[in-house]
Symmetry: C2
Subunit: 478 residues, 2 copies
């Protein structure tokens, strides 16, 4: 380092300047949130090739500039496409420090501070959920946390699988038909099979119907199967629905099943006195998925699996540590690797902790409540526009709606096409990046409010543009 | 951002300065590589608590300083403890940019540049391995890549498991008794069971014995089982052994088994004309684990799973994408999420690509060859010291040795204790962070050469200190 330190400091400073400019620019209404280019076009614009000979540190700068230029501006308040948006300075600082002080979380001796920070985070998350003597771990994403929830349940029901394998699998898991697709991946990976994941009917708000759940459980028992796991959702991906946890827990308790809650999107409502009722009954769960990279604005990936009963995680994973790694010393009870599916594990705790320190519980409460206010504003706007139809009255921050043509003779199929056109045209123009989904044969536009910088004026402009595009598109089909 | 931009720029600059100082300091021979503190002591020194009220950006700085102060200096050439060491400026820059331009890798539309970069990396890794028409994906660690290798094999053998689950598992997997413990976690997770992971005997160099493998396969077939997977290792964790791939492939081909190679530690020898013979036969594998955060010096985590036959990864994972996410558009063939176990996935490709651009193939070749030179130097030193005994002649960068007392009447048990003492005293002093392991009832000290900044003088000092400590400790027991 000695002889290159000036060069190192220079390039680091230049890149930091680029980053600050990038973030600043992305807040500018005139910056395109996306410049969609096909893979072929983009390939021509970038020098992706890896060569025999290296380049200098200074030569990395134009590569980094191109990277930023062609990246989607997810930090913009007009990035409404996914369940995250915006940026967090403490989070970026956390990643900078974590990558420079590069270590792994498997043992306390190589990650003493990060281990204590992670334990503090887990304890605070568990407190919010209502797991006073719970445990948990930061994991590689919400899908991974859902997998681990199901894995813990499988271990509790058939612990012998760890040694013997699944000799005659009769396990059946239940989620709603609105649940995240990661449950399907989990049944595949765990050897349970997707046919043994029952997708229980949801009601018109997208909430799992507890009586339907009970019927499915009874049916499975009748078929000689072993119901073991129910995955409820707090904030579904498309509609933002919160399953009714007390009613579901009544069923899981009656039949002795494991209750997992996927709170990847909705968990942070727990910060708000006003809205935490959406998660009433969270303490009745056995395990819980929490993504801090969604509503809490920490850079991706920042996820945790939380488990009510201490010991299950390490029981499910343990017995496979090896003595070159997990030494028996005074701090060995702090070796988080013993309850992990990973060996080397990145420090995700620091960025999360810095964000939480910065915002405080109250900051997160304000963030959540501000976004609910924006959701209410959006809903009011939608109600006032006869050419825009709200699909369901949202309980959360997913606003699903569609454009309804002025001409009432237009077919359902064409209405879908018009809504697709609107969305695609918004993206093509780079004004706004917003997503669509299909729900009960309807193409709907899904507005996600995750960025605390979104203002009422942004929503005004969004709906105006949607109406303009809708009218334009409608003309094509008449 | 506008009104806080000066504050933001200030804190970012201050943190960057701290980072540069930290890296500079960690290269200093007088800086302790570790200041081991118990969890209780450290808790007292840090303010870990999360509060109702937040703090200012400026107040984050002392927290970051404490974090760096009490972190292990893994960037130091005296961090010899794990399979990574040192630091890489392009890697740190990559993480800074990735966290600021925060996105997820599941679809091309939100990660266009990162997707193309990842594909370029995968293609180059496959070229090195000898998978000309292979596929691959960046994953969450070497353990995860080993899991996915076994998952692909399971899917190839019993594709119906995806839908039906494991109805009557007879699958048997084989690794050497020196293989990584992640295979045990994989058999647990996949429902195969750890009793169905056969740990085949290794020879005195730690290499899997192909004839023993064949005997075990024959035995399993005789028992009515279904052998399906062999996990070979390129660079074992303790001894650095490379399994003989051509001989193992003869067996896997004869019995039609999937051959996975765990190259997490050893794969980068492929950059060196001089040493790539260690991985001769890599093209005979079906899948391959590659960690760029070990020998290639990219910040953690940076791992890839590489698969020889295109299509297996998505076949194993697919059929579960949902239309709110994976839209059918002109770039949909670039949606990497369809072959991933994750949904949201961090951009690990950028840091890796910037490192590779910077070093070039030749830079990595030089890095690998320089470390082999250091290994040779260490071995020569060990041979010249009658009180130090090399456990095996290393083929790679793991130098396993132990202190042998001057007094020849000291028991085997006490010799183990002396070696433990030496290691613990080195850590306590903060001079050097080095690991130990037990191998055939002997405690050995494991020197890992992963940091290209290690000089001959560093090794001279290391062994001198070990001899001094050994003599001191020996006196205690006589």
């Amino acid at each position: 380092m000695n002889e290159i330190s000036v060069e190192v400091a220079n390039i680091c400073n230049s890149v930091l300047e680029e980053i600050i400019n990038y973030l600043q620019e992305s807040q500018d209404m005139n910056t395109k949130v996306i410049e969609l280019k096909s893979a072929e076009t983009l390939r021509e614009k970038l020098d992706l090739t890896l060569s025999e000979t290296g380049i200098s540190l200074a030569e990395l700068l134009p590569l980094i500039k191109s990277y930023l230029q062609y990246s989607v501006k997810t930090s913009s308040p007009r990035f409404l496409n996914l369940l995250f948006s915006g940026f967090s300075v403490p989070g970026i600082l956390g990643e900078m420090v974590a990558s420079a002080s590069n270590t792994t979380m498997h043992t306390y001796d190589v990650a003493p501070v990060a281990t204590l920070i992670e334990l503090e985070l887990i304890q605070n998350l568990n407190k919010l959920i209502g797991f006073p003597s719970g445990e948990g771990l930061m994991v590689t994403g919400g899908s991974n946390a859902n997998l681990i929830g199901m894995f813990c349940a499988r271990h509790k029901f058939v612990p012998e699988v760890k040694y013997n394998g699944l000799e005659n699998n009769q396990l059946i898991a239940f989620v709603s038909d609105q649940a995240h697709y990661s449950y399907l991946k989990a049944t595949n990976l765990l050897g349970i099979g997707s046919k043994n994941l029952i997708q229980v009917k949801s009601d018109r708000n997208g909430c799992l119907i507890p009586s339907e759940l009970e019927s499915e459980i009874i049916q499975a028992l009748h078929n000689g199967k072993t119901p073991f796991f129910v995955g409820a959702t707090a904030g579904t991906t498309v509609l933002g629905a919160f399953d009714n946890l007390p009613s579901i827990a009544q069923v899981t308790q009656k039949y002795g099943l494991w209750l997992h809650v996927d709170g990847a999107w909705g968990a942070p409502v727990l910060f708000s006195e006003k809205h935490r009722n959406l998660l009433a009954g969270s303490e009745l769960a056995d395990s819980f998925t929490w993504d801090a990279h969604k509503l809490m604005g920490v850079p991706l990936i920042c996820s945790a699996i939380l488990v009510k009963d201490k010991g299950i995680l390490s029981q499910a994973c343990s017995g496979v540590g090896t003595d070159y790694l997990f030494h028996d010393d005074e701090n060995s009870s702090y070796n988080l690797g013993e309850m992990s599916l990973q060996c080397g594990r990145k420090v995700d705790a620091l960025k999360f902790w810095l964000c939480w320190k910065y915002y405080g519980n109250k900051g997160y409460q304000a963030r959540v409540e501000q976004l609910f206010e924006m959701a209410k504003y959006a809903v009011d706007l939608l109600h006032s526009q006869k050419n825009l139809e709200l699909i369901i009255e949202p309980k959360f921050l997913n606003i699903c709606f569609r454009y309804i043509p002025q001409n009432s003779h237009i077919s359902a199929e064409i209405i879908n096409q018009i809504n697709l056109d609107i969305r695609n045209e918004l993206i093509r123009s780079g004004q706004v990046f917003i997503n669509y989904a299909s729900y009960k044969d309807q193409i709907l536009i899904r507005l996600i409010l995750a960025n605390p910088e979104i203002k009422k004026a942004d929503l005004d402009t969004l709906f105006e543009n949607i109406l303009i595009q809708g009218k334009k598109s409608e003309k094509k089909y008449v």
